[in-house]
């Protein structure tokens, strides 16, 4: 046996890993920790329907943990004439300074420094802003010393001259876009314990649109998918389960959250949001390596997913509000080359398509 031990020693010693991704591991660790906190606080989510109102009441969905009552001073400032190249914004969290800058001209990723920590790539490939969604926000969270913070960062539509951020502790932040390498950006940092109630983007002639983000019950960061035009009625807030069961010995539950943030579907810690005002047709919209979740037209009663090996899985189409959803546990490998067929209540096939491949 000792020969085998030595052989293995030699073979494995020949492996030269790359540099330790310390900051990335810490970032993931913080998310794990925050999910635990959120999971403890969120508890069971009851289906709650709210009526649409004409004037936006800028509050969050009922699933959220209560924000902290202790006020932490937060400020944000645009870069000045003598600021370093690439700087997007800077400010204070409590008494600690922070800044966000574009990491490199080609990447459009941002780098956050301050509050006792340093994060790179805190925004990845956020989409392009449009007239309908004037800021394409992404974010990251980290709990450096002394105050855990979220960093929210986005590209800005060309007409936007400023944005107003309302935080759940009453803080109002005004963001001014900074141009770097032909793109315009805004960024702000906020304590993790404080939620983002809304962001309103302004042009030189007034408000363009307001986003009320979705705060995933088991997640970390808000999702800004839907933007409401001035005067637009708030969509009803509605939460409902559209799938549940046991997979590989573990319970699972798929939940739809409808509201001013658009539609967000969650299974475990996986969240998929879409903000389109048009009701989606039948198809899959997201999932993970363990789940597939999707939408269905009114006429659809159930779907049959046919796997590559010919076996089938049935998913019921369940209405939450006016929209039908479906979800099934499917491993990543099962998703490869899988196809779905949607049936109406008399068993007639009404639509079909494919699920993503590996």
């Amino acid at each position: 046996m000792s020969d085998l031990h030595e052989e293995l020693n030699t073979a494995l010693a020949a492996v030269e890993p790359g540099a330790a991704p310390v900051e990335a591991a810490m970032l993931t660790g913080r998310k794990i920790r925050n999910r635990r906190r959120a999971g403890l606080l969120a508890g069971a989510v009851a289906a709650v329907a709210a009526v649409a109102v004409g004037v936006p009441a800028l509050t969050h969905q009922e699933a959220l943990p209560a924000p902290t009552t202790s006020h932490i001073r937060v400020t944000v400032n645009p870069p000045g004439p003598h600021s370093p190249a690439g700087l997007i914004a800077s400010g204070l969290i409590g008494s600690k300074p922070w800044n966000v800058s574009v990491e490199s001209p080609s990447s459009n990723n941002c780098a956050f420094e301050g509050n006792g920590m340093s994060l790179v790539a805190c925004a990845g490939d956020q989409g392009q802003p449009t007239a309908a969604a004037p800021i394409s926000f992404e974010g990251e969270g980290g709990d450096g010393s002394p105050i855990p913070v979220n960093i929210t960062f986005g590209k800005v539509w060309k007409d936007v001259v400023s944005a107003r951020v309302e935080l759940s502790d009453g803080t109002i932040l005004t963001l001014h876009p900074a141009e770097v390498d032909g793109s315009r950006f805004v960024a702000f940092a906020s304590p993790e314990s404080v939620l983002v109630d809304s962001v309103t983007a302004y042009s030189s002639s007034g408000a363009i649109a307001t986003a009320i983000p979705f705060e995933p019950p088991g997640g970390l960061l808000p999702s800004f998918e839907a933007w409401l035009r001035p005067g637009q009625a708030l969509p009803a807030r509605l939460t409902g389960t559209f799938g549940s069961g046991t997979a590989q010995g573990k319970p699972w539950r798929a939940t739809a959250y409808l509201g001013p943030w658009g539609t967000c579907l969650t299974v475990g810690h996986d969240v998929d949001c879409f903000g389109s005002p048009q009701r989606p047709a039948t198809g899959w919209v997201g999932g993970s390596d363990s789940w597939v979740i999707g939408t269905a037209a009114d006429s659809v009663s159930y779907l049959v997913i046919t796997l590559k090996d010919g076996s089938t899985v049935r998913a019921e189409a369940t209405a939450v509000g006016q929209q039908k959803f479906w979800g099934v546990p499917l491993s990543w490998s099962q998703q490869a080359d899988a196809r779905w067929t949607a049936y109406d209540d008399v068993g007639q096939a009404v639509a079909s398509g494919s699920i993503r491949t590996g």
Partner: protein, 170 residues
């Protein structure tokens, strides 16, 4: 978490990263997966770092998570597990005088990769990590009898592998 404990974690991870990746590489046979598994393990350790650090043996904690992560990975992706002939090249530079030894090592790694994931894990834990049969069984969440039988079959397969020179394994 304080800046001091963050720095403590950074130092720990930088120091133990190569060893954990090598362990994960032995278990997975793929350097990319190995780095993913090791990174996930360190992330989980960081999520509980104040508690992990207090155990006095964070190395054992992370090692255990690496093994668990690998077990989970195979549970999740068993269907996609496939055997390939080519072993990924190590990402770092090799010294020229190690070339001969590496030739034999790569043959061993190829043979190891042809084992099933459970047998490969048994080989790495029993014969590289020098875990006892009971420790290996606990780590892999199986019986001691399974460890014995898997080890026996794994060694037989390694001995019978054309990749390995006759007499290398005693």
């Amino acid at each position: 978490m304080s800046a001091e404990s963050d720095e403590e974690f950074r130092e720990f991870m930088r120091g133990r990263w190569p060893a954990m990746v090598r362990l994960a590489y032995g278990l997975t046979g793929d350097l990319g997966h190995a780095e993913d598994v090791a990174q996930a393990a360190f992330a989980r350790a960081y999520a509980s770092w104040s508690r992990v650090a207090r155990t006095g043996d964070p190395d054992a904690y992370v090692r255990r998570i690496v093994i668990n992560e690998n077990n989970s990975r195979f549970r999740r992706r068993r269907v996609t597990e496939s055997l390939v002939d080519a072993v990924p090249e190590p990402s770092g530079p090799r010294s020229a005088d190690a070339a001969d030894a590496l030739g034999d090592s790569e043959a061993l790694m190829r043979a190891l990769r042809r084992l099933g994931p459970r047998q490969r894990a048994v080989v790495v834990l029993r014969f590289w990590m020098d875990m006892s049969e009971a420790e290996t069984a606990a780590a892999l969440d199986c019986s001691v009898g399974t460890v014995k039988s898997q080890a026996s079959r794994a060694l037989a397969a390694l001995r019978g592998s054309a990749e390995l020179m006759e007499g290398e394994l005693q």
